[in-house]
Amino acid sequence: MTGGVRVLRPGLLSTVQDLGRWGWQALGVSVAGPMDPRAHRVANALVGNPADAATIEITLVGPELLFEEERTVAVCGADFVVTVGDHLAAHSAAFRVPRGGHLRFGARAHGSRAYLAVEGGIAVEPVFGSRATHLPSRVGGYGGRPLSTGDRLPLGPAFGRARVTRRPPALDLPAGHARLRFVVAHDLDHFRPEALPCLQSDRYTLRTESDRMGYRLGGPPVRTLAMGTMLSQPSPLGAIQVPHDGQPIILMADRQTTGGYPTLGTVITADIGLAGQLSPGDTVAFAACTRQEALAAMIAQERALMAMS
């Protein structure tokens, strides 16, 4: 029987994530997946896993884990101090954790989420084709919930493949602030004309209620028009929705499949990972861009990620 990883301390919020549960939203099943897909992919690439292998997403305060067998691992994203036993481990690089080794996450300066990839992947049972944890509906991952002390995570078979030695791309991490580009919504009928300039006029702060479902922002109120209730529409990742109080919400990984608030725009795919590294108290500034600019940014990011695999 293959060994696993035991959770000695779970950290603040550690969940199993892969690239998400696509294809089931028509039946109300949310996508979930990593808040910073870039860091998830780089961590997997460093240990030789496919991009959709499950990693552990680690939030603000990291866990302590015991390895039942020797494995190659990598940590990317937020710059936690990581130790194996008494040794300091390199960030964004593959290293070995011996059988019986303790992997500990310590202090952190930038970013809020790190991804731990283990060679072979975290092998929890897939639900609707994905191992991603969707916390609100308790679907997928480790029993649909965050990791807890005493959990034992199964691992996929180790393959001992030659690991990537190329330098991984440097990922932007916000230092308390991020500039997020967005594509303006086609239909702004529900907004006053000054709504769009208002959103870009000042910084917004992530309020404490922000989580994997969405970032609730505080800042200059964006004025909507009272037009009665809207019929719910599908909600994409990064949608900037504005409830009646004018305080925008950015929909993140655990968003519901549909929503009934007017949408001012959608954060571009290339900036989602950066957004995923924010935490409550951090600020964002919004900058409108064209769809062509969004695609160019995505291609540039994709080139950097592809170069190492």
Binding site: P136, T257, T263, T269, L295, M298
Partner: protein, 232 residues
């Protein structure tokens, strides 16, 4: 012929097809039709097709998708969906125990509508509802259209926990909570039927376009029909 729909990008990785914004079976039938057509065509790069009331989203990988070709395909589908008929699906009957602890908002609804509790129940079980869309949580079916005399708005403050199987009303919509979630709908009863059970061969009881009628049962029948451990 002028288009009676729009196809617009939402962000850089999705397109939205929208018909006239109203809660209408004929509009919704077009949405379901286009979603089905797209699923059958399965163009490369498409990751998800999500039908709602009057609109549907197509999520795609922009690096693997020909945006113009996908737009053209959606345009042809949306044009030809004019012929989509509202299919008379077989009606599924859903037993509900109304009022009391199972329907904690029924009394308040009687007070606000001026109708008696049995009258409200009679108006809720009368129509055959259409499942317009599934959203909010896995298997949550938005059904309509509720009789206007009992189409009460949501609670001002949502409940933190709504029990699984709760049957509620929100304006002209009615539905069943498939899992224990927060929720703001006015709760009038509870069903032993489970719209979402991940371990069932088909975990989802409802699909867009389904026909549903509620049937009133008493507390004894509710207990008899309840799945073991089903209060979770």
């Amino acid at each position: 012929m002028t288009a009676d729909f729009s196809i617009v990008p939402i962000g850089d990785a999705a397109l939205l097809v929208a018909f006239a914004e109203r809660l209408d079976a004929a509009v919704n039938a077009r949405v379901v039709w286009v979603a089905e057509a797209l699923r059958r065509a399965a163009p490369p790069g498409v990751r998800d097709v999500v039908p709602a009331f009057h609109s549907l989203a197509v999520y795609f990988d922009p690096l693997r998708t020909d945006h113009d070709r996908l737009t053209a395909l959606l345009d042809v589908s949306a044009q030809s969906s004019r012929d989509a008929a509202v299919v008379a699906a077989p009606t599924r009957q859903v037993p509900v125990c109304y009022g009391g602890s199972y329907g904690p908002d029924l009394e308040a609804m009687a007070a606000s509508t001026g109708l008696s509790e049995p009258e409200i129940v009679a108006r809720h079980v009368a129509p055959v509802y259409r499942v317009f869309m599934i959203g909010f949580s896995p298997g949550f079916a938005y059904m309509g259209t509720v009789d206007p005399t009992i189409a009460v708005p949501r609670r001002p403050t949502p409940r933190v926990r709504v029990p699984v199987g709760s049957v509620g009303i929100a304006g002209s919509q009615t539905g069943i909570y498939p899992s224990e979630t927060p929720g703001g709908w006015m709760l009038i009863g509870r069903t032993p039927v489970r719209p979402f059970q991940p371990m069932r061969p088909d975990p989802f009881l409802f699909r867009p376009g389904d026909a549903v009628q509620f049937v009133a049962i008493d507390a004894d029948a509710y207990r008899r029909l309840s799945p073991p451990g089903g209060e979770r």
